[in-house]
């Protein structure tokens, strides 16, 4: 397990336990965390699981792949720390990860 904290656009933090090997998107959906829609179910095909990775964690989560960058074009208010949460795998190294969800997904 790795602790992941989702902060919504209004500043409310929701810490949940993420299963190692699942994704940050799946962890949100499984735990009923609002602010992540994941219309395509995790195929990196829709950009509705957009999150901002906390600056302290950007190095550990890494950079988006070229395919993910393409999908981020469809997301709203994309920032340098924008990622699609279906493309971030939960690992032991991400225990404590903090992400913020945008004001809206679509």
């Amino acid at each position: 397990m790795a602790k992941i904290t989702y902060i919504d656009a209004g500043g409310i933090a929701r810490p949940v336990d993420g299963e190692i090997g699942s994704t940050v998107m799946e962890t949100a959906i499984k735990n009923g965390v609002p602010g992540i829609e994941a219309e395509c179910g995790g195929a990196c095909a829709c950009s509705t699981c957009h999150v901002y990775v906390d600056e302290a964690w950007r190095e550990k989560t890494g950079e988006p792949s070229p395919m993910e960058e393409d999908m981020l074009d469809f997301a709203f208010d994309v920032k340098p720390n924008s990622r699609l949460s279906c493309q971030i795998k939960v690992t032991e190294a991400l225990d404590g990860l903090v992400v913020t969800t945008p004001e809206r997904q679509a």
């Binding site: 395509c40 195929a43 095909a45 829709c46 509705t48 393409d70 074009d73 469809f74 208010d77």
Partner: protein, 346 residues
């Protein structure tokens, strides 16, 4: 010839041409029911075609591996013997009950249908353009901000802003650049996922000074009474620039919205799913069925295979509406000569 507003008559009208709507044609066809399909996309396949044509699917029974595109191709081949009629690029707007059961259905382009049975296989709803998150964009929509190009001439001699980096943004940049007074393409990064050939053509126009490319995101609109006069673009360095324009075309892809289904008088669960009876997948309105991702019943799984099962049971009940005087005999395609004749194999 059919007069413009004379309805198209059919046994069954299927709303949504995704995998479940397509397979419904097969199950209905085996029972001699003719179907027309309506879909807002310009191609059959629904989410399989629009969201993940190249992505793998591993859970279709008997098919260890396929793709969204592969599944749609296979379903189209499977339903070919039944000659379904497709009405693509259209959205059903209204449904009116005119008999027991008999429905009159109108699309957004004004096409009318009359069907004994309606099958809603609309998945997550209809694909509609995504709105950019620009505050105060609403009053400009349809007046100077457009999510699609219906008539190119609307943009003649206009100062035009096109936003996005995909094929729609690039195609319309190349098509409208010759007739616009001035065109600026705005994209958040200097990489484009559009076809490389279109990107090269766009870059050549920029090099010739025939159009502008601005890297950044639109953060504010200026104007009044629905008419744009300019837009603020925040560059990747954070610097703000205001670009003059009288029209803007944002292309941010599609998203699924329930759309007019919400207005058809059906009860909705959590505002988006249509409850059905699991013996027939009929809604609380006789003659209207809902199959696939759009329906809800205890234990519902949003799987393509569940939608296929739902289509088969729906067809059994629909038969009694379409042929009230006939008795339905259950048959297998393996052994029934009459079913095999319908499939063109016997």
């Amino acid at each position: 010839m059919r007069a413009v507003n004379e309805p198209i008559k059919t046994d069954v009208l299927i709303v949504g041409a995704g995998p479940v709507g397509l397979f419904a044609v097969f199950e209905l066809g085996l029972l001699d029911m003719k179907a027309h399909l309506i879909d807002i996309l310009d191609k059959p396949g629904g989410q399989c075609a629009e969201l993940y044509p190249e992505k793998p699917i591993y859970d279709i029974p008997g098919v260890p591996y396929t793709t969204g595109h592969g599944l749609v191709e296979a379903l189209m081949a499977q339903i070919k013997p039944f000659g379904p009629a497709f009405h693509l690029g259209e959205m059903v707007e209204t449904i009116e009950r005119i008999g027991e059961p008999m429905f009159r259905v109108a699309t957004d382009s004004g096409k009318l249908f009359e069907a004994k049975v309606l099958v809603i296989a609309a998945g997550g709803g209809s694909f509609q353009p995504k709105k950019p998150p620009i505050p105060g964009i609403d009053p400009y929509e349809g007046k100077s901000v457009f999510y699609a190009v219906r008539k190119m001439d609307v943009f003649r001699d206009k100062e035009l802003l096109i936003v996005g980096g995909g094929d729609s943004a690039l195609d319309w940049t190349l098509n409208l650049q010759p007739i616009a007074k001035r065109l600026t393409l705005v994209h958040r990064r200097d990489d484009f996922r559009a076809a490389p050939d279109s990107v090269n053509k766009m870059r050549a126009l920029v090099a010739q000074g025939a159009m502008d490319l601005k890297i950044g995101q639109v953060t504010a609109l200026h104007g009044g009474e629905g008419m744009l006069t300019g837009a603020t673009v925040k560059g990747s360095d954070g610097a703000l620039a205001t670009l003059a324009c009288d029209a803007m075309l944002p292309f941010f892809g599609l998203t699924m919205k329930l759309g007019p289904v919400a207005n058809w008088g059906l009860p909705l669960r959590e505002g988006e799913l249509i409850p059905v009876d699991t013996a027939s997948f009929e809604t609380d309105q006789p003659g209207i069925f809902a199959i696939g991702d759009i329906n809800w019943y205890p234990g519902k799984l949003k799987l393509i295979l569940s939608g296929f099962h739902e289509a088969a049971l729906m067809a059994q009940k629909a038969y009694h509406y379409v042929f009230p005087d006939k008795r339905l005999v259950f048959q297998y395609t393996t052994s029934s000569t009459s079913l095999q004749k319908k499939l063109g194999v016997a």
